[in-house]
Amino acid sequence: MSNHTQPPQPAEGEPTPRIGVYVCHCGLNIAQTVNCPQVADKAAQADDVVLSTDITYACSEPGQQQIKQDIIDRQLDRVVIASCSPRLHEPTFKQMAQDAGINPYMVEMANLREQCSWVHMNDQDQATAKAETLVEMAVSRVRHLQPLHEDTLPLTKRTLVIGGGIAGIQAALDLADSGYEVTLVEKEPSIGGMMARLDKTFPTMDCSI
């Protein structure tokens, strides 16, 4: 099961990390408040950072392509993407890392948009200083990251649909017609929900049942 067991600390004699840092402008979303080139320059001075640059849209196809190429050309083994919230694009960059041949868990994001440029819009200097610290924190974290591997588990091909109104009925039918087993639970004596009570329904003005 635990084929991803790793020692808690990198063993001695392991090669030094080769970190790439990308400071994303997100068009103007980040760049109009944060001085991205300055943040990238600052990060370039950190230990183990092989490459640090600003980038217009890290998540775009050309952006990803550039990072992937750098990973290969400069033998990067981990990257920091300083852009939006990891809750938005972490899966994107994990996939990108995997495509470029490094472990997807060797990616760290610094949240320069939702938690910096968008919330400190009136103070560019302070926002830039904060962005520098956030990137520094991410570089520190990425240095200590370890490759991890996902496990696969069996799955039950059955869906529980809670509620037998029009939404529940439609979802249940779509699933069942696609070959999946469905359990449809309704607290009332009949399915149909609110819609069954309506007379005509717009915009077609036909019967609801």
């Binding site: 919330v119 520190s140 091909k157 439609q170 249940a172 009332e188 149909g192």
Partner: protein, 601 residues
């Protein structure tokens, strides 16, 4: 409806409710209570002989109490399943059997008073939550006199009156005299868009529902006077504007302004006072019938289900999606999806669209027949383990076993571990390492943050699901707060080790905030209870050491509480300003020599 009822792959459980959900994506175990119908579903032919014989008469819920039914009944003529059921609380005959008239007349002998509620356990890989809505009850809006004037109806009651299957066979009649009204008025935004009573949000469907009703009236009774009192008409959907235009062309009067009062006249009509916003004049309208376009509210079961499944709600009480634009049908919990009004007020077309989307999201998850699990799990470092058993005690998933008596090191069941990290935080001997959120990785972030000018910074630990998402929401809403706030993301606030806090203060942090999901909303069942206990423990230790306990704060911030997040950050900044350089230096020195767990270096 009938398609769903007879589909070979759909198991239909009516009069049933979900009691408990356990497990995780791909392998949920759901406990369902199926209440007894006292009629054998498979045998009943819905002939209706039983209902004809039943002496108990009760208001019919399906027709909003505008007609009656018996104690043994079918919900409505097209009900699926069509079989009858007995409301056992109303039935006279079951105990002792004094009536049993239905049993006598039932030819199929399918009535059985000895049935009892069943508990059904289902194994499922994904869950679609489509719990719908509840209409707003306008009783509290006393100015419209819904509970006093019989000819004031809700939109749903009106629906039943114009429905061919309804109590009046589709003929619109006034409840007081059963004669057809010559004039009908509709009042919009009842329970919607109001700060005073009801809800602040727009219920989305009422404008078009009213316009539809006006068309139905004009089609059946071209001479009827129909008036609509409104704030705005929101006819934004495909084909909606055309219906609105058609309604006006047919002579429906749209009057801009919500009535201030409705009083009853001698013939039990309604006299409505309204300030007409278009003509800027106070007008009085006399109408035979008044219909309140009631708003949409979350279904009553929403909160219970949210607690059972650890889901999140918006401040309005509907379910919160994982992302408002890019994952509009996904819950933050993997394997759970939303459809219909459970996620927010929406019309039929939108509900159907979202339901199909939810179905495809579920199929996308299940089609490979296996599921990949996140390797963010706990691992035991056996040589450090003293078999004390605390990790097993705090694990919300019972994923850790320790043979305390045999002094065998703890073992983590990787499949059951969800990765909250509470065990790693509680372990006093550093015998548990949390993958991807190790002590070294997290303290490394603290180090980097406090490397320069630590006294100017605010250190915040935020859980991925609620507080970090709440901070993101503050960003999406462009709420401004002090720029010295720095967040460190953990999966759960339960992961925030004592050590991290002490390290923060030792390195000169003026203030530290630990934030997580509200109690009861924790993404890891109840792991945040341990966060709370830990912070209380830390407060006591701080007081003992002579460090002001309020410098460590704990706050529960949900994913929808961007405003609360920004407000808390401003409070933290005020608190930070109250901490002097001397106080910080003193704390650093104190902690360097005190017996508190720090990072080994």
């Amino acid at each position: 409806m009938t398609d769903a009822g007879r589909h070979p792959r759909i198991k239909l459980l009516t009069l049933s409710e979900v009691k408990d959900v356990r497990g995780y994506v791909g392998n949920f175990e759901v406990t369902i209570i199926k209440r007894a119908k006292y009629v054998d579903e498979t045998e009943c032919t819905a002939c209706g002989d039983c209902a004809a014989a039943c002496p108990v008469v009760r208001p019919d819920e399906f027709n909003m109490g505008l007609s009656s039914r018996k104690a043994i009944y079918s919900a409505f003529p097209q009900a699926v399943p069509s079989s009858y059921q007995i409301n056992i609380k109303e039935c006279l005959g079951h105990n002792p059997a004094v009536c049993s008239k239905c049993v006598d007349v039932c030819e199929k002998k399918c009535i059985n008073f000895h049935m009892s509620d069943e508990e059904i356990v289902e194994e499922v890989g994904s869950i679609i939550v489509a719990t719908g809505l509840t209409p707003y009850d306008p009783t509290e809006l006393d100015e419209y006199g819904y509970s006093r004037h019989e000819n004031v109806l809700t939109s749903l009651e009106f629906e039943r009156l114009v429905n061919a299957g309804g109590p009046s066979k589709g003929k619109l009649i006034r409840p007081t005299d059963r004669r057809r009204p010559k004039s009908v008025g509709f009042i919009q935004c009842v329970g919607s868009r109001s700060r005073r009573k009801g809800k602040e949000y727009c219920s989305n469907i009422c404008c078009m529902n009213t316009i539809k009703s006006t068309l139905v009236l004009k089609e059946h009774y071209p001479d009827m006077e129909v008036k609509v009192f409104y704030i705005d008409i929101r006819a934004f959907g495909k084909g909606f504007e055309e219906l609105y235009t058609r309604s006006r062309r047919l002579g429906v009067k749209f009057i801009r302004g919500l009535p201030g009062s409705a009083t009853e006249t001698a013939d039990r009509s309604l006299r409505v006072a309204v300030e007409n916003g278009a003509s800027n004049s106070l007008e009085f309208h006399e109408l035979d019938m008044l219909v309140l376009a009631q708003g949409v509210q979350p279904a009553p079961s929403t909160q219970r289900l949210q607690e059972i499944m650890g889901l999140q709600l918006t401040p309005d009480g509907f379910y919160l999606e994982a992302h408002p634009k890019l994952q509009p049908v996904d819950a933050a919990t993997r394997g759970v999806f939303y459809a219909g009004c459970a996620e927010g007020p929406k019309d039929i077309k939108e509900s159907v669209t979202q339901a199909s989307a939810a179905a495809v999201r579920a199929i996308r998850l299940m089609h490979r027949g296996e599921i990949t699990t996140e390797p963010i799990t706990a691992e035991v470092i056996a040589e450090n383990c003293t078999s004390c058993g605390i990790c097993a005690k705090v694990c919300p998933y019972n994923a850790i076993s320790v043979e305390v008596k045999k002094r065998q090191p703890a073992v983590v069941n990787q499949a059951a571990c969800a990765g909250c990290g509470t065990c790693a935080a509680e372990c006093r001997t550093d015998a548990i390492s949390m993958n991807h959120f190790t002590d070294q990785q997290l303290v490394g972030q603290v180090d980097a943050m406090l490397n320069q000018a630590p006294d100017s910074k605010i250190l915040v630990f935020a859980c991925n699901w609620c507080s970090y998402a709440g901070a993101d929401y503050a960003g999406v809403s462009r709420l401004q707060y002090p720029a010295n706030v720095h967040l460190i993301r953990v999966m759960c606030s339960g992961r925030v080790d004592e050590k991290f806090i002490w390290e923060g203060f030792r390195q000169g942090a003026p203030v530290v905030l630990v934030s997580g999901c509200h109690i009861g909303d924790c993404h890891y069942i109840d792991a945040n209870h341990w966060t709370e206990k830990r912070v209380n423990r830390l407060h006591k230790k701080m007081a003992k050491l002579g460090i002001r306990p309020e410098r460590l704060q704990l706050e529960w911030i949900s994913a929808a509480e961007g405003i609360r997040f920004a407000e808390k950050m401003r409070q933290m900044e005020a608190l930070r300003r109250s901490v002097s350089a001397e106080e910080i230096a003193e704390t650093s020195e104190l902690l360097a020599n005190a017996k508190v767990p720090l990072m080994e270096r």
